[in-house]
Amino acid sequence: MSSLVRPALLAIALVLLALAPWLGGTYATLSLTSALALGLFALSYDLVLGVTGLVSVSHATLFGVGAYGMAIGMTKLGAGFWPSAALGIAAAMAMAWAIGFFAVRTSGPGFIIMTVIFAHAVESIANVWTSLTGGENGIMLSTSRVAFLPGVDLHFTAGSRSAYYTVVACVALAWLFSRWFVASGLGLTLRGIKGNELRALALGYRVGRYKVLVNVVAGAIAGVAGILYALSQGFVSVDMLRVLLSIEVIVWTILGGPGTLLGPLVAAVLMSLGIEYLRSLTSQYLFVVGAVTLLVVIFLPEGLGGVIGRLLDRAAKETRS
């Protein structure tokens, strides 16, 4: 019985996803576009935390740096969209490499603290270097009308459907890539590192290098996510690279089920929509975010996926007997 439920749910979700812009209004489409970009962000993080078991608290740094790279390219350097996007992605990858390089030089817990240090440092610099980053207000992307392909323009902030489908396409591509990546030899090695790092070391794998590698790959995808998110919002701000966001993506990944790829993606989409709704209700939404983080850790460490999985299994057992 439960073997039919999951594909059915998936099919329903896909249909809803495809029809969303027609079911909701412009604002809803825009919200969903942004949420999907955050979903892509969480998907990339799952490669780091869920697949390789690395607790990095600097992933939002890569997300934000990617977006800022693109924004600075377009506004300050006067470059076109594609070169700017490439700049953003390259910057995210370089940052990912640098963080990884130093973080792997410390022992286990030091890794976490090193990523925290880097994330905080970048956030502080971004806060202070307002001439570059625009501080709290950020950099407005004067044109969210992007020359995507010759002759094809995309409007992002207008809540346009073409933008929505572009993001959906990117998410789908990234998901396929990630699945392939995880199943590949490289992915196998990473999962081996997560399972038993000492054994991987004993077998001769240069574990440090693999960790840096996955951070860079995930960083590239996070950079893309950052670019898409910034385009859909119409601006980049330092909120995109806050430690808070790095922590939130960890919570989304845990909630969705680390390593499942799809779980963190869905969790991120739902949670970010929820947070946006919450923000419109109260200015104390950060308090709620803190409380939710705490509660998820205490009560749902395996994530909702684990709980739902257990419920489905129990239902399956009952129908069998």
Binding site: R105, G110, I113, S124, V251, Q284, T293, V297
Partner: protein, 288 residues
Amino acid sequence: MTADVLVLQLANGLSFGVIFALIASGITLMWGIMDFINMAHGDFYMLGAYGIWLGLVIGIGSFWLALPLAVLGVVVIGLLLRVSVLRPIFDRPPLHTLLATYGAGLMLQQAVLSIFGPFSKEIALPVTGQIVLGPLRYPAYRVVVIVVGLVLIAAVGVLIQRSTYGLWIRAVAQDRAMTAALGVPVPRVYTVVFALGSGLAALGGVLAAPLFGVSPTMGGEVILLAFIVVMIGGLGNYLGSVVGGVLIGEVIALGAIWLQPTVAYLVALGLLLVLLLVRPAGLLRSAR
């Protein structure tokens, strides 16, 4: 730049350094003994500052009388946190305690924000005037900060070396399972370490309050540097965090002569990165 300015900044660096050392030694004790990453540590510092402000506002006339009360108040909050939130996740991996303490810290910050408002509060210097040494004049309060801070750091150090709980703290840091197998009540040792760590952070906040003001985000501002200090001094190394704290304090103060504060932060980070390349285990050999 004259010698006067240099000496002045060296002294400033020492006063920053003492405050960083207080915060960092709390982090390193909790990490080294309990494998515990406390993301709310900066908020204990912040609560200490609010504690002293509150104490003075209520009408406890003397700063020095309100100080131990403020510290005690924060320790109580910390222990409540430990009992309610941290006990259930006692044996979980560091990721979970990281998230839980972050969540708790965020809640504390937001609570303080909504109760006391976002604006920075001022506290009058409890000791005014300057200390004069020949051609040099230095604010008396800063000297007091340095002295009080160093005395307390030394006192804790002695406690760790001489007292029974200090012995147990060191034993747990070296081999937790064996310490338990010898009958030592490890959870109680953890509680002591937690109280000690949060108390030190709170003390740092109290001492810092007249110098830097009291605001809900002051914890976030220092926590980055505190973590850098901990990494430089070596995770779990008490002496290392003290030395590292003073070192970073001096780097920032001296850096401030020529550079902006954020750039000074960068220098501290750069120092850490260089050290990591050269000596991954931290500045000092494990002097447990």
